[in-house]
């Protein structure tokens, strides 16, 4: 997978490249709007991660020009702007997803994977971890072929952890992914505890395996092997 990152803040692009490298994606970084646009138009990428505020052409202009030139590479927009109008504008111009800064590494990864699966990997829309199967197309989860009766939020939570399997997912990352940024820490922490415990209970009625493990106060890991 070839990914183009157009982001002028080196510290952020460094972190993004670290995340992408760990997942074995190929990537290129561009710190300038004009340069990024030239790259996007002359090479073929599977995904473009695009910041909105850039020197040279800004994100909206790049997006508009790409789509005007029939380049339909999926675009994930990164932005510090969290106004609804900006999100709507970006999605209307043809971006595939929109993520506001600050974001957690697992969230970025989950969104990248969602886009890539949707666009290129239609056959493999199923995530499998021993007895646990998640069908990201139908938004259903199974344990030992038995369907789990999950609420929307519980499913989102499970899918999110599956995209980041074997990695620690902090409560903060879960909260930002599922509820956005509108919850205070106390409320969010309580919400997540309830959903995790419900999810565990539901999986527990079918399998004795503990898929979801708690990593001290930090967060949770979804993994197939019990420690």
């Amino acid at each position: 997978m070839n990914i183009l990152v157009i982001e002028d803040n080196i510290k952020i692009s460094d972190n993004i490249s670290y995340i992408l490298k760990n997942e074995n994606y190929n990537y290129e970084i561009s710190a300038n709007g004009n340069e990024g646009y030239d790259k996007a138009i002359s090479n073929e990428y599977d995904l473009i991660i695009l910041d909105l505020m850039l020197p040279g052409m800004d994100g909206f202009e790049i997006l508009e020009s790409l789509r005007a030139n029939q380049i339909n590479t999926p675009v994930l927009v990164l932005s510090a702007k969290n106004q609804v109008e900006d999100k709507v504008k970006a999605l209307n111009l043809g971006s595939d997803d929109y993520i506001t800064k600050p974001f957690a590494a697992p969230e970025l990864l989950a969104r990248i994977k969602t886009i890539l699966r949707r666009k290129y990997d239609i056959s493999s829309n199923i995530i499998k971890m021993s007895e646990l199967t998640i069908d990201t197309n139908k938004k259903e989860a199974f344990v030992s072929n038995e369907k789990l009766d999950l609420t929307q939020k519980e499913y989102d939570l499970l899918e999110f952890m599956a995209y980041n399997k074997n990695k620690v997912v902090s409560k903060i990352a879960i909260g930002q992914y599922i509820w956005g940024e509108s919850l205070d820490l106390f409320t969010m922490s309580n919400f997540i505890d309830v959903h995790i415990s419900n999810l565990r209970k539901k999986i527990g009625t079918i399998s004795n395996k503990k898929f979801i493990q708690t990593k001290r106060g930090l967060g949770f890991i979804l993994s197939e092997d019990e420690e």
């Binding site: 510090a80 800064k101 600050p102 590494a105 205070d184 106390f186 505890d193 001290r216 106060g217 967060g219």
Partner: protein
């Protein structure tokens, strides 16, 4: 009162005074002219009467001769017929005893003749015996074509008429007599009455015309102001770049006002744009470093060789970072609210639906903390006017706080309608708020217990709630007993 009405009334009043004084002057002049005409007639009559015949009365030697001649005179046929029938002619001796008189004078005697002596002329009012004129009409008046109705106008109910007359002193030798002459004055009075009525009607009519004309004219001349008002009403936060149309060829006050308003709009728009830009800049400047920190921490936390102590530190850093981000977000939100940059879309909303959504959303907190969380809706339909999203935030913040500060017991949300008000009551059995601190809990970052820094400050949530509820003209009351309970009562105007 509208300027339009004021202007119209002002000009009407001016015209009223003008026309009224003109007509009064005209009426007075008319009266004066008619009166002098009548007096002239009397004078001429007297002169003719005295000079008549052989040298007239002026040549008589004594009063007796005068009386004889006088009686001859008024009884003489052609004189009697010509004049005696329509004039009063009375001769008095020095003690005002009547010596001789014409038939009319006999029919309608003069009273208080002495009092008229000092006056240049006098008017007398007579009550007519209708029968007299009726009978005379056939015989006497018809010969000389005297129009009775006109000359001796008798109004049909009162049978009154007026005369104007003069009494003159006659001196013959050492003797004295008085001669009174009266002419009927009804014609002139009638004429004056008619003109007065005409004047009043003209006055009323012209007032109506002026009012109507004035209303139209003031509407016409004020119409640019109304245009400005309606154009201004169409300018809202969304289209601040709009300006009021000016007409360059017109250099009146309206154009000046328009230009001043446009200047003001220009400055307001600039301030608005700057405020918006500032919030957006601040947002960006804060969020980028937070984003970097969070990514750094996330990437460190996947290192499998971390010690427990390091994990604790990472966790707490992440939490602090999240709280910081949350706080900045809320601060920016509050600053948007305070500078009215937040979109406010009022609509009819159901309080029950709103509270149910809040309850469902916060339920899991109560579950984790193992406290009772009850929603008690007392009326089926509770409708208020407000912005759904903003009110959700406002009430949810209060409920969230109640849950946060309650460790055992219950949080109860109630809604009821009393008279025209809808009250939302959020009651908890938490730690309570000391009386002297109730007023301050809406202040930014206010803590009840300054020694406690466990992250449980009211932060900014209640400040936001207060601001939103203020926008909705809702009233917040707090009743609290320390360590027993706290009650938030939010009162809205019902629809």
């Amino acid at each position: 009162m509208k300027i339009r009405t004021k202007l119209t009334l002002f000009f009407t009043a001016i015209f009223f005074v003008l026309i009224l004084s003109l007509s009064l002057w005209y009426q007075y002049r008319l009266f004066y002219v008619l009166r002098s005409e009548a007096l002239k007639n009397i004078e001429m009559f007297l002169k003719g009467f005295m000079d008549f015949g052989h040298g007239g009365f002026r040549k008589v030697k004594n009063l007796d001769e005068f009386i004889i001649r006088y009686k001859e005179r008024i009884n003489r046929d052609n004189f009697s017929k010509m004049l005696s029938r329509r004039t009063w002619n009375i001769l008095y001796d020095k003690d005002f005893n009547i010596i001789g008189q014409t038939p009319l004078a006999a029919e309608f005697p003069l009273q208080n003749i002495k009092s008229y002596l000092t006056q240049k002329y006098f008017t007398a009012k007579f009550k007519s015996n209708s029968e007299y004129f009726k009978s005379e009409k056939e015989t006497l008046f018809s010969d000389y074509k005297i129009n009775l109705e006109y000359e001796f106008y008798t109004d049909k109910d009162n049978y009154t008429f007026y005369c104007i007359g003069k009494i003159s002193e006659i001196n013959i030798g050492n003797e004295k007599a008085y001669l009174a002459v009266l002419f009927p004055d009804n014609k002139n009075r009638l004429y004056l009455d008619k003109t007065l009525i005409n004047v009043i009607f003209t006055l009323l009519f012209s007032m109506c015309i002026i009012i109507i004309f004035g209303l139209f004219y003031s509407k016409y001349s004020l119409s640019p102001i109304n245009k400005i008002i309606s154009e201004l009403n169409n300018i809202s936060e969304e289209n601040l770049s709009k300006r009021i149309k000016t007409y360059k060829n017109n250099k009146d006050e309206i154009t000046e006002i328009t230009l001043s308003i446009n200047n003001l709009l220009e400055r307001i728009e600039k301030a608005f744009v700057m405020e918006k830009q500032f919030i957006s800049d601040v947002s960006h400047e804060f969020k980028t470093p937070i984003a970097i920190l969070q990514l750094n921490i996330d990437n460190i936390s996947n290192n499998p060789h971390l010690s427990d102590d390091e994990i604790d530190k990472i966790t707490s850093s992440l939490e602090i970072l999240y709280s910081l981000d949350f706080l900045i977000q809320k601060l920016l939100y509050l600053s948007k609210l305070e500078s009215n940059l937040c979109k406010f879309n009022p609509e009819t909303i159901s309080v029950n639906e709103l509270l149910t959504a809040i309850k469902n959303n916060l339920e899991s907190i109560a579950e984790v903390k193992d406290i009772k969380f009850v929603l008690n809706l007392k009326d089926d339909i509770l409708k208020i006017n407000g912005d759904k999203d903003l009110l959700y935030i406002a009430l949810s913040n209060i409920a969230e706080n109640a849950l946060k500060y309650t460790d055992n017991g219950s949080v109860i949300i109630e809604a009821e309608k009393v008279d025209n008000k809808i009250s939302v009551i959020i009651e908890d059995t938490g730690s309570g708020i000391p009386k002297n601190k109730i007023d301050r809990i809406f202040d930014k970052f206010y803590r009840i217990d300054t020694s406690r820094h466990d992250g449980k400050s009211f932060g900014i949530g209640l400040t936001i709630s207060k601001r939103i509820l203020d926008i909705h003209n809702a009233v917040i009351n707090i009743e609290s007993i320390e360590n027993v309970r706290t009650k938030f009562i939010v009162t809205f105007q019902s629809l």
